[in-house]
């Protein structure tokens, strides 16, 4: 018999050039129907793909899936500090781990095991399928950095929660975004930037900030692929099963691409004359020791909004330690 088609819209605020969008297009969409066919399912998905922000822009990725404007999509959790605080735990726990792959595994596991993580998505009328993780943060500056002391009095671009990573260093955080970094450094508005190398390279930030100091402030979970809850509840069991599987594979696909790009970025930066050095471990310890306990104060403030952030913080730190990471600071411990 003819298979029954189910129409699903899959969308994103960004174009497929970015790993967390591209993998939806290259993996999730084609693979879903192959799997359904292989398992003898009577269903096929007719995907309507709308990437690149034509359906909604970056500040509405969560709401678009919530209201069903798109059935599935990549949600930028990093812009949802209020609605999805727990999903941003990595931004409040710097120097925890540089391992992009491990980080998505931990985040996907937390969504299975700690109810508050999944509940946050239910609140937004959607279901989490798989996290997208980024490479670790480093410093790119127009002056050499050998110690934390070198940052004192410098203006460093650090938007959003990353501004807190500079507390105690004596550096002044400056607001900005990938598209503005180049000009801001070129014109002296800032002396450098805290950034991921895979993001900075295409914008040629190294032309104006040629000193790349590998600090390893930590890999981050910046988003997730999710599906509208009403859509999800309407789907047949075998389709749910396939999408669930693909959620994990999506996370792995994104991580693999990010890691590959990270290696390529380091190589390209070196080839194009950037001065690459590593911040000594004792300096990193000094940096992290000088930070106030931003994780604890974040968790406490979030608890006051009725969200169990302290438990989430502890679960997260435990999970990365269990997988063999040695965070430079145990953020779940008071003090």
């Amino acid at each position: 018999a003819e298979p029954t088609t189910i129409k699903l819209t899959i969308a994103s605020s960004h174009s497929t050039g970015l790993p967390w969008v591209g993998v939806m297009h290259t993996l999730v969409v084609p693979e879903s129907n192959k799997r359904l066919a292989a398992m003898g399912s009577p269903y096929r998905i007719r995907w309507v793909e709308a990437y690149g922000g034509s359906l909604y822009k970056y500040d509405n990725t969560l709401e678009a899936v919530e209201i069903g404007l798109t059935d599935m999509g990549w949600v930028g959790t990093l812009w949802e500090l209020s609605k999805l605080p727990l999903q941003n735990v990595t931004y409040y726990t710097p120097f925890a781990t540089d391992d992009t792959r491990m980080l998505y595994q931990v985040m996907n596991e937390l969504h299975d095991e700690v109810p508050a993580f999944a509940a946050a998505w239910t609140e937004q009328n959607q279901r989490f399928l798989g996290a997208s993780a980024l490479d670790t943060y480093h410093l790119m500056t127009n002056f050499p950095v050998n110690s934390v002391e070198d940052l004192r009095g410098r203006k460093i671009l650090a938007p959003g929660p990353s501004a807190a990573w500079l507390e105690g260093t004596g550096a002044v955080p400056v607001d900005g975004g990938l598209t503005t970094y180049y000009t801001q450094i070129q014109t002296g508005v800032a002396d450098g930037v805290l950034t991921i190398l895979t993001g900075a390279l295409p914008y040629r930030i190294h032309e104006v900030a040629p000193y790349v100091t590998l600090v390893g402030i930590g890999a981050q979970v910046s988003g997730a692929m999710s599906i509208n809850l009403d859509t999800w509840n309407r789907l047949p069991g075998d389709v749910q099963q396939v999408l669930e599987q693909l959620g994990d594979e999506y996370s792995e696909g994104v991580a693999a691409e990010v890691i590959a790009r990270y290696e390529r970025a380091l190589e390209t930066l070196r080839e194009e004359g950037a001065t690459i050095s590593t911040l000594p471990i004792e300096e990193k310890r000094k940096w992290v020791a000088g930070l106030p306990n931003i994780a604890r104060s974040w968790a406490e403030a979030t608890e006051r909004r009725g969200i169990p952030a302290i438990e989430a913080l502890e679960s997260y730190m435990n999970a990365i330690r269990e997988r063999g990471a040695t965070p430079l600071r145990n953020w779940d411990e008071p003090g």
Binding site: G68, L69, P85, P161, T179, V189, S297, W298
Partner: protein, 635 residues
């Protein structure tokens, strides 16, 4: 404006006026906030935290404080081509039609308020904030409340208008039936019904919605409401779910303009109006008159030159169109130019406003394409000058070879003589000062192109104060008009985004992009098709909407074909600006029409007057497409 007849109606409208006043003052306050942030971080190394978040929220809040009063005053842009003659010949019928449109509008705003209500309640319950925990937080519920209240107020105002029109309709003497008028409504209803019960493909729905939107716009429905209505209807049909469509309306209302970069709209308007009261435009025009007055068609050339200079301090074309309609058109007509040519030239030259940096459209392109706005501005300089030169040469040639169209330009030559040359050139100093402030600020890294609007507005205000042109009344007029102009644009952006989301869901644009990429003609073929598309869409949609619809689809093709995205930004912006001058929806022409002191020139006449400049702009666009180096060699 439909004046309120009852005491209750008058009280209601005065509440709306106060809401409007609060909204416009709020926008004005943003200028000071942004300037304080610039000074704080530049001079004292201490930026004000959360300015982008506060500005973004403020835009939504102030638009919804103002929207109801904008409806009272009929400030939402609409095409009067069909309705104006109808109102003259068949006033009762026109009244009934307006009642019908008011009813549709009221339903839309009720749905918007209903859709926004749960979101407001949740934001209170969860103490939703904007900003960053631990650094800067601001509660968002007040803005969500304003959205609900503002949409509800707009709905009430439309209901008031509906009742007033119904009363008038019943009070009028019995009139003969107008079968064709009823047929229009019936056909619309039938189409909607057929789409709802049949199983149309997505493409069919998309095509039908485009057709209905065009019909409604042509029949005088405010463009924003026509796009909102068809966007809503289309999404409901496509998703087979009214709930999703309702929530999309409220999401568009809240999310679309809640971005720092959209502050450029009111701020560049504010700057333009301060520049207007300080009569800098007049000074620039006088100086240009002095330089070019002696040649044939010199006054026209002076208008182009003054527009080019003015463009360097304003980011929106409508500011140029409004100001030069007041300054240059009377002057040209007084010296024997035909009114048709005078307004056509003014419309054409206004295109320079958004090509020569700073430019709102280039900023929006930069945001969508993720390319440096600084690079875009730099790349636009030479094309801007080129277009100005083409206009000037075109004007001179037309004055010589087509005097029937241009008028008796010989008389203008005498007017340019006389004293005051020195003072005229001295009058250029404030203009130059503003150019240095705005462009120097951007390229010196003192502020971003977005913030340049605030700095420029502040600078222009200071000049107006120094020139003693800014008393209390003049200041209030500027602030009020800024609010009124920007609320219309920002609300149009909201509506257009609803419409383009609907189009995306129909996959029509995706089909077009695939068709374009698959033609196998390479870059030249793609550009030819793209230009045609820009011109066609430009006839019916506003520039921002076109960028929002087309770019996500065109940019991958350009990258694929190896094109430079900065260059593509320049050709896109000039190409899309052709649409400012073409009927039935031509924003610059609308602005000119509403800025003209008398009603003797019809919209059609202004469109006709602007047509030669449509051709010139198209020719320059093709030139820029053919030779990318014209744009990129400065980079």
């Amino acid at each position: 404006m439909l004046a309120p007849a009852t005491r209750f109606g008058q009280g209601f409208v005065s509440v709306l006026r106060w809401m409007n006043n609060a909204g416009v003052v709020w926008i004005f306050a943003l200028m000071f906030l942004i300037c304080a942030d610039i000074v704080g971080r530049t001079v004292f190394d201490s930026p004000i935290r959360g300015v982008p978040e506060m500005v973004a929220l403020s835009l939504v809040g102030s638009v919804f404080l103002q929207i109801a009063f904008a409806i009272v005053q009929g400030r939402l842009t609409r095409s009067d081509m069909a309705v104006a003659p109808l109102e003259r010949r068949e006033p009762e019928l026109a009244n009934d039609w307006q009642a019908f449109l008011a009813a549709i509008g009221a339903v839309l705003f009720v749905l918007m308020a209903v859709g926004a209500w749960p979101d407001f309640v949740r934001s209170v319950k969860t103490r939703e904030f904007a900003g960053v925990e631990g650094l800067f937080k601001v509660q968002v519920w007040p803005v969500k409340l304003l959205l609900v209240v503002g949409a509800a107020a707009a709905a009430l105002e439309l209901v008031r208008q509906l009742f007033a029109r119904l009363r008038a309709s019943f009070a009028a003497p019995p009139k003969p039936a107008r079968i064709w008028a009823e047929a229009v409504v019936l056909v619309l209803a039938l189409v909607v019904f057929a789409l709802a019960v049949g199983e149309p493909t997505e493409r069919t729905i998309g095509a039908a919605m485009i057709a209905i939107a065009l019909v409604l716009i042509a029949l005088g429905m405010p463009i924003a409401l026509a796009l909102l209505a068809t966007g809503f209807l289309g999404i409901a049909l496509l998703k087979n779910d009214v709930g999703i469509a309702v929530r999309t309306l409220s999401l568009a209302a809240e999310g679309t303009i809640s971005e720092y970069v959209f502050a450029t709209v009111p701020l560049f308007v504010l700057m333009g109006l301060f520049v207007n009261v300080s009569e800098i435009g007049r000074d620039a025009f006088r100086a240009a008159q002095l330089v070019f007055g002696r040649i044939r068609g010199g006054l026209g050339v002076a208008t182009v030159a003054a527009n080019a200079i003015f463009a360097a301090i304003t980011g929106i074309s409508i500011a140029s169109a409004a100001i030069f309609t007041k300054i240059a058109v009377p002057e040209m007509v007084r010296h024997g130019y035909t009114p048709k040519f005078a307004v056509g030239l003014t419309a054409g030259s206004s295109v320079l406003g958004m090509l020569i940096p700073p430019s709102l459209l280039l900023i929006i392109y930069g945001v969508i394409a993720e390319v440096s706005i600084g690079d875009l501005f730099l790349a636009a300089v030479v094309p801007g000058i080129l277009l100005a030169l083409a206009f000037a040469v075109g004007t001179v040639l037309m004055a010589i070879f087509w005097p029937g169209f241009v008028g008796r330009t010989g008389e203008a030559r005498a007017a340019a003589d006389g004293a005051g040359a020195g003072s005229s050139l001295l009058g250029m100093l404030p203009v130059l000062g503003l150019i240095v402030l705005v462009l120097g600020g951007i390229y010196g890294g003192v502020f971003t192109p977005t913030e340049a609007g605030a700095a420029g507005a502040f600078g222009a205000m200071c000049i107006a104060l120094l020139k003693r042109r800014l008393g209390g009344t003049a200041l209030w007029d500027v602030i009020r008009e800024t609010g009124e102009v920007s609320v219309a644009i920002l609300f149009l952006i909201i509506s257009a985004s609803t419409f383009s989301r609907m189009l995306t869901l129909t996959e029509l644009p995706q089909d077009m992009a695939q068709f374009l990429a698959g033609t196998g003609l390479g870059m030249p073929g793609f550009l030819a098709a793209y230009l045609i598309l820009l011109v066609v869409l430009g006839m019916v949609l506003d520039s921002t909407s076109i960028l929002l619809i087309l770019l996500p689809l065109a940019l991958p093709v350009v990258t694929e074909l190896g094109g430079n995205l900065v260059w593509f930004g320049i050709v896109t912006v000039i190409g899309v600006e052709i649409g400012l001058l073409t009927p039935p929806f031509g924003l610059s022409v609308f602005v000119i029409k509403s800025s003209l002191a008398d009603d003797s020139l019809s919209l059609g006449a202004i469109f006709a007057g602007a047509f030669p400049f449509v051709l010139i702009t198209t020719a320059v666009t093709i030139l820029l497409m053919a030779f990318p180096a014209i744009s990129t060699f400065l980079l």
